[in-house]
């Protein structure tokens, strides 16, 4: 969504509106959260998982819309359930992970479209969920975002070395007695929750981009994981803030602006000599 009159104005004027202050807070938190998680998404080759979950949660959001509860809460429950189902079934050799993602990707979205069609009349918020509307972020959304951010980052910080070892050599991790499947399922839950809280900023269609591009740029810029993580966080943060400014002053949708800024950083990273 766009929100300026297209006439520019004082640079600091953007900070004078309460909704813009909330938007900045949301962008900073989502930028950092997605970037931290994108580190493991890229290392574990989970980009299709990110895309699949982000589209599938439309079903959960639609359930919330119809039931009259906060769609983010229903979306969160729905996304976590799907993530655990995909993770459990694939880890127990029932069916390939990418096949399962392909199934849930489309069926979750189809469920969302069908349920929303039951809603009488025009439902403008549907576009917010599909493409994001950072202007519409409420205090309640920020609180939910902060709680998710706290628990996801806590999980990553506590189990970083285990998750990193599993990402590099799962067989070795299992041989050392690590609960690799449980830790992996925990990572998928973090991924599902992060996608849900990103929906307000970039929408279900573009949420997966923030879970791949920051770490992909970080990977290009460094041969060591510590710097990769740092560059990933910086990319998420810079892309989020720059996207929000550009969106405000050029009157273009914020989600698209943020993702395009992240993409620009990714392509610029090819200029570096790794």
């Amino acid at each position: 969504m766009s929100y300026s009159d297209g006439k520019g104005g004082n640079t600091l004027e953007i900070f004078s509106f309460a909704f813009m202050q909330r938007a900045f807070l949301a962008v900073i938190m989502v930028g950092l959260l997605c970037s931290a998680l994108s580190f493991f998404v890229v290392l574990n080759k989970l980009s299709f998982m990110g895309a699949g979950l982000s589209h599938a949660i439309l079903g959960g959001i639609a359930i919330g819309v119809l039931a009259g509860i906060n769609p983010l809460y229903s979306g969160a429950v729905f996304a976590v359930a799907i993530a655990l189902l995909i993770g459990y079934l694939s880890k127990h050799g029932k069916i390939q992970e990418d096949t399962l993602i392909g199934v849930f990707y489309s069926s979750g979205m189809a469920l969302g479209i069908m349920l929303i069609s039951f809603k009488q009349g025009y439902y403008p918020e549907l576009f917010s969920f599909l493409f994001g509307n950072v202007l519409a972020v409420s205090i309640q959304d920020l609180q939910f975002l902060a709680v998710v951010m706290f628990f996801v980052l806590l999980y990553i910080v506590i189990f970083f070395k285990e998750l990193f070892t599993i990402s590099f050599d799962e067989e070795l991790a299992r041989a050392a007695g690590l609960p690799a499947t449980t830790l992996y399922l925990g990572l998928l839950v973090c991924l599902a929750l992060t996608i849900v809280v990103s929906v307000k900023v970039v929408g279900v269609v573009l949420a997966s981009a923030l879970l791949v591009i920051p770490a992909a740029a970080g990977y290009r810029l460094s041969g060591n994981y510590r710097l990769m993580l740092l560059f990933s966080l910086l990319t998420g943060l810079v892309a989020g803030l720059a996207g929000l400014f550009i969106s405000y002053y050029l009157n273009i949708p914020s989600g698209a602006a943020i993702v395009l800024c992240a993409s620009a950083i990714f392509f610029l990273s090819f200029l570096s000599r790794k």
Partner: protein, 251 residues
């Protein structure tokens, strides 16, 4: 009296009715170097995975340090493991020392950062395999032989009593293989390590192992390396002519 570090009795392992291993019996004493040989698909890696408790046998007994693998608990840290090389991503962004540090990540340290003492152990392991100077080098930039030495350092950094190696010399040229085996033998003597090593290189493993065990679904022959290499059961296990297996280097 020597203690059996590994004890396998009447071991059977099947997947979906397909018998992978059948009636395997094997005892390995502390300080032994045992080579597991056999053709592709013989069940060698499966046997190692059963010893580690990564999979469970259909019937029979597996005991490591006198315990079933699933009940090893803290004793699991006394097992060093070097999986086959293709299990990792060569472009993974980490240094040589980072790879070795992973050997210290166990169930016992779940959720806790590595201590200074543990990190020192990782550095010592790199020194022992002669890679101390390359500790900060990106792992992807090491040669195949150096990467294998780094993996060996990762396997020994917990100061294990039992070392399980799955084809550690795959893809290495002959001089590098020879150096690797020499290094392994030195470490084994120095720390009285029990080594179980899967290998396709019959000639090389016969030079260094105390015993060879040849399997192809079941155990075909086991004993001292020369006895095994000269056994007619070996050709039966490999289902090919003797000269194809060894060329002129037999015995």
């Amino acid at each position: 009296m020597s203690i059996n570090v590994v004890e396998i009795r009447d071991l059977d392992y099947a997947v979906n009715g397909n018998q992978i291993l059948e009636k395997i019996n094997l005892q390995i004493e502390a300080g032994e170097f045992v080579g597991i040989i056999g053709p592709n698909g013989a069940g060698k890696t499966t046997l190692l995975r059963l010893l580690l408790g990564l999979i469970r046998q259909t019937s029979g007994q597996v005991r490591i340090f006198g315990l079933p693998p699933a009940q090893l608990g803290k004793k699991r840290e006394a097992i060093g493991y070097m999986p086959q090389r293709p299990t990792f991503d060569r472009r993974f962004p980490l240094s040589t020392l980072d790879v070795v540090n992973m050997g210290l990540v166990t169930a016992g340290s779940l959720g806790c950062p590595l201590t200074r003492k543990q990190r020192e152990k990782a550095r010592c392991s790199l020194e022992q395999v002669g890679l101390a100077a390359l500790q900060n080098r990106p792992f992807s930039r090491l040669s195949g032989g150096e990467q294998q030495r780094a993996f060996l350092a990762r396997a020994i950094c917990r100061e294990p009593l039992l070392l399980l190696l799955d084809e550690p010399n795959t893809g290495l040229d002959l001089p590098t293989q020879h150096n690797f085996f020499n290094l392994l033998q030195q470490l084994q003597h120095k720390y009285n390590l029990t080594v179980v090593m899967v290998s396709h290189d019959l000639v090389a493993i016969a030079r260094f192992a105390h015993r060879l065990v040849c399997i192809n679904r079941t155990m075909h022959v086991h004993g001292k390396p020369l006895d095994v290499l000269n056994s007619p059961h070996l050709e039966k296990a490999y289902r090919c002519e003797f000269d194809v297996l060894f060329g002129r280097e037999r015995g």
